[in-house]
């Protein structure tokens, strides 16, 4: 792959470049007016189908009873539409433990992801807008730590937390969730671009304190980046499985992910009741909030990702 950029204004064969032809002729590489391609759409459509089929399967099978799951075709509806019954069964099974798990998950997401975002915003702002000794070292350490596997940390963290008596409490899940190295990096890149230094200088000359400047001047400008980081930390905490699996033994503190897995495992335990229809309906209820959040906030995560994409 040659890294030459085509900046020489000569055509390949050395003749001066031909004049642009009139419209209507096929121009293979017109960036201003690309031609729509059915073939390319169909090919990309294959990836689209691949991405959506499991979700469609989930939505369709959430409408089936436990018996219907076994004797109907997977990608089509069963005779009776049992979705509403399934939802109410899911929410009431085992004294409404699903609702409890949902509230636990919300607690972990609000405190964990909210806190993680707040710390990442403060830290990223510091890295982007202030000179201080040890700055490069800080980032090298944070990035280096990302490469350490979660399990390398999990065992010692578990042992540390059990010494402190934190295991089996929400804190055991929330405290490790507070650190998002990716969020820190994203906020650093974003703040470097979004906040003009002149504005900070002006605020300082006006005698505003650093904190006041941060909250009144910088924070509003960081809003799109903040929403992006919040979305990604939300997904990370909402989808977290390994950490709670280790830290939490008491089903009363399970997040949804652990709860669903416990329901699924129930079928293979001796004397356990198979409740696949509830696992499927519960899975659907688990992903809906995130899908909706992503759809509603897409403007933000797209611009945030664009800012976080690596620039020259």
């Amino acid at each position: 792959m040659a890294a030459t950029t085509t900046t020489t204004r000569r055509s390949a064969n050395g003749r001066p470049a031909p004049r642009l032809r009139s419209r209507g002729r096929r121009r293979p590489n017109s960036v201003s007016r690309p031609r729509r391609s059915t073939l390319l759409t169909v090919l990309t459509g294959l990836v689209l189908v691949y991405s959506l089929v499991p979700l469609v399967w989930l939505a369709i099978n959430a409408t089936k009873t436990q018996a219907g799951l076994f004797d109907s075709f997977g990608l089509w509806f069963d005779g009776d539409f049992a979705l509403w019954g399934n939802i109410s069964d899911t929410l009431t099974y085992d004294d409404g433990v699903f609702v409890r798990w949902l509230l636990n998950t919300l607690l972990y997401v609000v405190v964990g992801a909210g806190g993680a975002t707040f710390l990442a915003v403060l830290g990223g702002y510091a890295l982007a807008k202030f000179q201080f000794p040890g700055k490069r070292a800080v980032f090298a350490v944070v990035i280096g730590a990302v490469a350490v596997p979660g399990t390398a940390l999990a065992v010692p963290t578990f042992l540390m937390f059990s010494e402190m008596g934190l295991t089996n409490t929400p804190w055991a899940v929330i405290i490790p969730s507070l650190i998002s190295p990716f969020g820190l990096y994203l906020m650093w890149v974003f703040a470097a671009d979004a906040i003009p230094v002149e504005l900070l200088e002006a605020a300082r000359i006006d005698g505003a304190s650093e904190l006041r400047t941060f909250f009144r001047v910088s924070l509003p400008m960081l809003a799109p980046g903040i929403v992006t980081v919040l979305l990604f930390t939300m997904v990370a905490t909402w989808n977290n499985y390994f950490l709670p699996l280790i830290m939490i033994k008491d089903p009363d503190w399970y997040p949804l992910t652990l709860g669903l897995n416990a329901w699924n495992a129930q079928a293979s335990t001796a004397g356990g009741e198979a409740i696949f229809h509830l696992v499927i309906t519960g899975s659907l209820l688990t992903i809906l909030p995130l899908v909706v959040a992503f759809l509603l906030l897409q403007r933000y995560w797209q611009s945030g990702l664009a800012a976080g994409s690596v620039k020259e």
Partner: protein, 309 residues
């Protein structure tokens, strides 16, 4: 270009502020960074240090804890289970990562080319699986793989054939690869797409005047421009492969015979620590994996960032 320092830090350092304010400013910077760093020390640095400490000791029923130096490491190097797990994730990443990133790159280029009908829909729909928790994704695919009420079973019944069982010991790694690919293809696509969007338009116009075709534009302009994004995505995918845990752990319920307790290094450390109470050995395996991951991530970055002649 480096992946670790934004332009404001690397490229042109800002004019040094007057001396009086510099010392004050440095404290302010640390003040903003302190909350992150304090928690970071608690949940990252302290456990890493503790892990290293654990790996140098051995707990015995009789005689308590004793310092054993590198004995645990020696044990890991001679442990066939460790090598089997490591070999399995290595095979996984050699096959799964190129496939996933290749599809992601092709889709990103297709969407960026502006030649698709309804490109916004494509972008959002293909990204959607990223919002699905690994647990749900694995349960879903696990059911689909199943031959009782899954799609595989349906196809077998409908056509009277018998497809190979995706949950059999021979195929389960490929089935896990498919789940991971499904989860992250859209996420990587979006990273590539975001990088493609910031390429200056003037380059394309110049290429057009030069009469460069689509392929030439991709190889000469687009790919070099998003090299940084490609390297970062590769590093994250490699780290993810080495840390493979959720999918095989959840599939264990559906395929108990296919997935052993040492299927991946992470499953191995997990079962050592939480079923076997062998915390010292588990910490050792975890540290070895951490070191290996760091070395490989570093090598990929060096190779990827090298300007090719």
């Amino acid at each position: 270009m480096t992946t670790l320092s934004p332009p404001s830090v690397a490229g042109r350092p800002a004019a040094p502020p007057p001396k009086a304010s510099r010392s004050r400013r440095s404290w302010v910077g640390w003040g903003f960074l302190a909350p992150f760093m304090i928690v970071f020390v608690v949940v990252f640095l302290a456990p890493i240090a503790y892990s290293i400490y654990l790996s140098l000791f051995r707990e015995q029923m009789v005689g308590g804890t004793s310092f054993v130096g590198l004995e645990n490491y020696q044990r890991a190097f001679e442990d066939p289970k460790f090598w089997e797990a490591l070999g399995r994730v290595t095979l996984f990443l050699l096959i799964q990562v190129p496939i996933m990133l290749g599809i992601a790159l092709l889709v990103a280029l297709a969407i960026d080319s502006g030649r698709l009908y309804g490109k916004n829909f494509f972008r959002i729909a293909i990204f959607m699986p990223y919002a699905v928790p690994a647990v749900v994704a694995t349960l879903m695919w696990g059911f689909i793989y199943g031959n009782r009420f899954g799609l595989v079973g349906n196809i077998n019944d409908t056509f009277g054939i018998s497809l190979p069982n995706p949950l059999s010991p021979d195929l389960v790694l490929a089935s896990i690869g498919n789940i991971v690919t499904w989860e992250f293809v859209g996420y990587n696509m979006l990273i590539f797409y975001a990088a493609l969007r910031v390429i200056p338009h003037s380059l394309y116009e110049a290429a057009e005047i030069d009469g460069a075709g689509q392929l030439r534009v991709i190889t000469a302009i687009k790919l070099p421009a998003i090299r940084g994004a490609l390297v970062i995505a590769t590093i994250f995918s490699i780290i993810g492969s080495f840390q493979l845990f959720n999918e095989p752990s959840i599939l264990q319920n559906l395929a108990p015979n296919a997935i052993t307790t040492y299927f991946t290094p992470n499953l191995f450390t997990y079962s050592l620590s939480f079923s076997g109470q062998q915390h010292n050995y588990a910490a050792t395996v975890a540290i070895l994996m951490g070191l290996l991951t760091m070395v490989i991530a570093y090598v990929v970055q060096l190779r990827g960032m090298r300007k090719e002649a």
